[in-house]
């Protein structure tokens, strides 16, 4: 299923866009739309619950390479960010750090990119006072955008680099925000396309292979990309290249990335001298424990 096909159905049936996505899901998987909706609401509630619980907390992560970044940002008064961005960024980083300390997260779409969607969701709920039902519609639209990427490309960092994980998470979050404010599927497509284009080519280069550096902070910056792209789309800015084409391009870029930049902890920042020294120290610490 392409995004343009979803768009066509929504125009020809005049159905609300989240209903189009649920109907399409039934066609593809045979799953009852009401059950899917209920399950997605549950997932959304887990996100909000965990965002609330972990907001700005300090964490003791598995490798201790991160853990206090959400707390630092939450204690700081922003110089230039809006409250919406600030809250979204704190949540995104906190969720990344909670993930790295074996907390409960939603792999939306992956564990490494688990902070972007909750960041946007939590800011909509607490800064924009979004109702549960309105949030859910936007969350379903975001899931539909993620599903287009999953079906036509990949969500895996090992297969497509970080652009497939954080890139998709950002496209989803941007779509969610855009749909919440506009109810306009065309603008949703623009927000998703502009987001994915912004992060096109992003490599997966975790230090030591652990989901901490640069993953945690990348969640924090990505949610701001999502917000910026949503703002652009809401203002009527269009993506010259339609979302479906951008997804194909992302897939092709992912395939042409060398293996060293696809979650192997060989290239990118993982390949730097400082990263290798850090990993060496971590291993020594573990060996002395065992």
């Amino acid at each position: 299923m392409t995004f343009s096909e979803l768009l066509e159905i929504s125009i020809s049936t005049n159905l609300e866009f989240s209903e189009v996505i649920l109907a399409q899901e039934m066609m593809e998987t045979g799953r009852d739309p009401q059950k899917v909706k209920k399950a997605l609401r549950k997932i959304m509630h887990v996100m909000l619950e965990e965002a609330e619980k972990n907001y700005g907390k300090e964490f003791n992560t598995l490798t201790n390479l991160t853990g206090n970044n959400g707390a630092k940002l939450s204690n700081a008064v922003p110089y230039m960010m809006s409250e919406f961005n600030h809250v979204a960024t704190v949540v995104a980083i906190s969720m990344g750090e909670s993930n790295a300390s074996m907390g409960r997260i939603v792999a939306c779409p992956t564990a490494g990119s688990c902070g972007v969607m909750p960041g946007a969701l939590y800011a909509l709920k607490y800064i924009k006072k979004a109702s549960d039902d309105e949030l859910l519609k936007s969350f379903i639209v975001a899931s539909g955008i993620g599903n287009v990427v999953a079906k036509r490309a990949t969500l895996s960092g090992a297969a497509g680099g970080c652009q497939a994980e954080i890139g998709t998470a950002t496209a989803m979050a941007s779509s969610m925000i855009t749909y919440y404010f506009s109810r306009d599927p065309v603008k949703v497509g623009n927000a998703a396309a502009i987001s994915l284009k912004s992060l096109m080519g992003l490599v997966c280069d975790p230090v030591g292979g652990f989901v901490e550096v640069p993953c945690v902070k990348r969640n924090g910056s990505a949610v701001n990309v999502a917000i910026a792209c949503a703002e652009m789309a809401l203002a009527g800015i269009e993506s010259v290249i339609p979302f479906d084409d951008v997804v194909n391009a992302m897939y092709n870029v992912g395939k042409s990335l060398p293996e060293s930049l696809r979650e192997t902890a060989i290239g990118g920042i993982a390949g730097t001298k400082s990263a290798q020294e850090i990993v060496e120290k971590i291993r020594e610490k573990w060996d002395s424990k065992n």
């Binding site: 899901e25 593809e28 939603v106 030591g208």
Partner: protein
């Protein structure tokens, strides 16, 4: 893959392949035989290189204790293992030409002993690749019946005659020629009822019977 797989699952971090997948492989052992008394994990490839930084060890212990992938207890599985008196050990090993994220789990419970080998193939998806040395390819998304049976003519037919549900795959191999023992793995489309299990238990050729049930809520 659908909306729920894209926007989920809810899990304990940090890694879908190294934490969630590891837990699901170990949980297969629990579903097969309950909580073992002793367990040995042989970690291969990336699992052995990075297990500590991904909590793979805690996820594996959580899995054999039967914890679900989103249980807050996963993080504290070492302490909880103590409460159950579970003895555990980890070792690195070369399991041959297998996926980089592969683990072999040896589990003991009373006079039962089972070996499960599985790979975490990405995004939290797993493949059980060997049960007691017999190669198979189970996703864990479907129920399965594992039977240690006498290797006699007609034994398989008897077993299949008990089944009233659709069979997805059957794996069968002689595991001990001397004692005439074979292992049969049957992957099913849906759970079977108690009557089927009673029918199987009644068979003289069935030595050990395990039913790996698909639990409510695991799939929609």
């Amino acid at each position: 893959m659908g909306l729920l797989e894209v926007s989920g699952p809810v899990m304990i971090g940090p890694s879908s392949s190294h934490t969630l997948g590891a837990l699901k492989i170990a949980r297969f052992v629990y579903k097969l035989m309950g909580i073992p008394q002793r367990v040995n994990f042989v970690l291969h490839g990336s699992f052995s290189m990075t297990y500590y930084g991904h909590g793979t060890d805690r996820a594996l212990i959580a899995g054999v204790l039967g914890m679900k992938p989103d249980s807050f207890d996963v993080k504290d599985s070492y302490e909880i293992a103590k409460m159950y008196g579970l003895m555990y050990s980890f070792e690195s090993g070369d399991l041959g030409d297998v996926h980089p994220n592969t683990v072999l789990i040896k589990a003991w419970k009373d006079d039962l002993y089972n070996e499960i080998e599985g790979s975490s193939i990405g995004g939290g998806a797993i493949k059980i690749t060997k049960i007691n040395g017999v190669e198979c390819s189970l996703t864990g998304d479907f129920p399965a019946i594992v039977i240690v049976n006498k290797d006699k003519p007609g034994a398989l037919k008897e077993i299949l005659d008990c089944l009233s549900v659709n069979i997805a795959n059957v794996y069968l191999r002689r595991i001990n020629a001397l004692e005439g023992i074979a292992l049969t793995i049957i992957e099913l489309d849906e759970n079977v009822d108690d009557e089927v299990l009673r029918c199987l238990k009644r068979l003289d050729n069935v030595v050990e019977l395990y039913f790996v049930k698909l639990e409510e809520g695991e799939l929609l």
